[in-house]
């Protein structure tokens, strides 16, 4: 049995495997396209509630725990929560902007949290571009220094970036910067609306030329790294990955997200509450939420819909959560997915785009 088979089984059997905790929306940077809904309010989960939650998640057999925000290190009890998670045997991924992780903090993270991976956000190849995005002068220089520090003490670091109109001209340099730092880089080509549906963030989404440049840069980089050519049939590869399950994704089936106010969500992108930890424990929500059952059925409907669209549907990178954020309908094709379908050149049906 391979790991990917195991993951598919968790989708099929509704076996909770991965949980993402948004600990706080507080942040020491001020990124222009941050997707968090900063107007969201409510009663924050207490440290005691986090402890109870982590015990419940361990009892459910959850393996992967992502700690994010906002900036997770801005939570006043970050180290207590993360250390407790470590003690309970979770595989911890820390998603951070990296700004606060100087040497002393990096050592605490290594010694008290022992994360599998620290994921940092990098927004450009130069200080001008990165700092324009974060709106904090000096943040680029500080991030690079902090990444080197983390590397030097044995933390595994990965960089995440979002392709925007501001950094699309330097995507090759960004790959080179990360090569130089010896960290893997993952670029999300899609700027998302904010979690409340506010589309003002899309003002900085990459141009079509920028998207094409990004694909060429990624292909050239991948050829140089591993000496292979691009998969001749990405749709076939996607079909292979999707075999053995009738769901489009694991949202609400093997993963959930939890916001700072206790709302439990099918995934970090799908912002519909399936229950709240101030009212019920996560074990009860997982076992008995009617909304969760609806979500699971929707992932099956999404699968059927995309398969009906042929290769274009498979190559759309469609996300029901993103669709829900765009229009309230998790099955509606939204603009970036439609763009990718059109780019695949195989769109056979006329689509209504929200």
């Amino acid at each position: 049995m391979s790991y990917s088979d195991t993951v598919k089984r968790t989708w099929n059997d509704n076996r909770l495997m991965s949980v993402l905790l948004e600990l706080t929306y507080a942040c020491n940077l001020d990124c222009t396209f941050c997707y968090n809904d900063l107007s969201l309010g409510g009663k924050r989960l207490s440290l005691a509630q986090y402890r109870e939650l982590l015990h419940d998640l361990a009892s459910l057999g959850v393996l992967n725990l992502s700690l994010t925000g906002g900036e997770p290190l801005a939570h006043p009890h970050f180290f207590e929560i993360a250390g407790h998670a470590r003690d309970l045997g979770f595989v911890i991924r820390l998603k951070t902007n990296g700004h606060a992780i100087k040497e002393a903090v990096a050592r605490r993270i290594r010694d008290e949290v022992d994360p599998f991976l620290v994921e940092v956000s990098i927004h450009g190849a130069t200080a001008d571009t990165h700092d324009r995005q974060t709106r904090v002068p000096g943040s680029f220089t500080r991030l690079l220094a902090n990444i080197r520090t983390m590397n030097s003490i044995g933390l595994r670091v990965k960089a995440n970036s979002v392709l925007t109109r501001w950094n699309e001209h330097e995507v090759e340099e960004l790959l080179a910067v990360c090569d130089d730092l010896d960290v893997a880089l993952q670029i999300d080509p899609e700027v998302k609306p904010r979690d409340n549906g506010d589309r003002s963030t899309l003002a900085v989404e990459a141009s079509l030329e920028g998207q094409a440049r990004y694909r060429r840069a990624l292909e050239a980089h991948s050829k140089r790294d591993v000496g292979v050519t691009k998969d001749p049939s990405p749709a076939a590869a996607r079909r292979t990955n999707m075999a053995g399950t009738d769901k489009h994704c694991g949202a609400g089936s093997n993963n959930i997200a939890i916001d700072p106010y206790g709302s439990v969500l099918p995934c970090v992108q799908w912002r519909v509450s399936i229950g709240n930890l101030h009212e019920r424990r996560v074990t009860e929500i997982w076992a008995g939420s009617g909304m969760l059952r609806e979500v699971r059925e929707t992932t099956k409907a999404a699968r059927r819909k995309l398969e009906g669209l042929g290769d274009a549907g498979l190559l759309s990178n469609f996300c029901p959560g993103a669709a829900h954020t765009y229009s309230g309908d998790p099955l509606a094709i939204y603009p970036p997915a439609a763009q990718r379908m059109a780019a695949s050149g195989r769109t056979r049906v006329r689509l209504t785009v929200v």
Partner: protein, 93 residues
């Protein structure tokens, strides 16, 4: 050839993580960045080791639970323990 003694105890390596998922077990080897999946019997053995049972005690539990003879249980358990030690998933305690 295994050099493990029957009274030896083991634990999950501090840099590895282990979870039982239904009828199989998953190790995440944090240092190597690898995942190792063990079958139902493997998961049972690891759970027994985590409960601080010696290899001999684990073998007895296997014979009771899976109705196999002791020699077969010893071979299977020793082989798995050796493999997990090599992979860095468990350590001697």
């Amino acid at each position: 050839m295994s050099t493990e003694t029957s009274t030896q105890h083991y634990r999950v390596d501090p840099h590895a993580r282990f979870r039982v998922m239904d009828d199989e077990g998953i190790f995440v080897l944090q240092d190597a960045g690898e995942v190792l999946v063990v079958n139902e019997v493997g998961a049972f053995i690891v759970e027994q080791l985590k409960a601080e049972h010696s290899l001999d005690e684990v073998i007895t539990s296997i014979t009771e639970r899976y109705a196999v003879d002791a020699e077969r249980a010893r071979l299977d358990a020793s082989s798995l323990v050796a493999e997990l030690l090599r992979a860095g998933a468990i350590t001697r305690s």
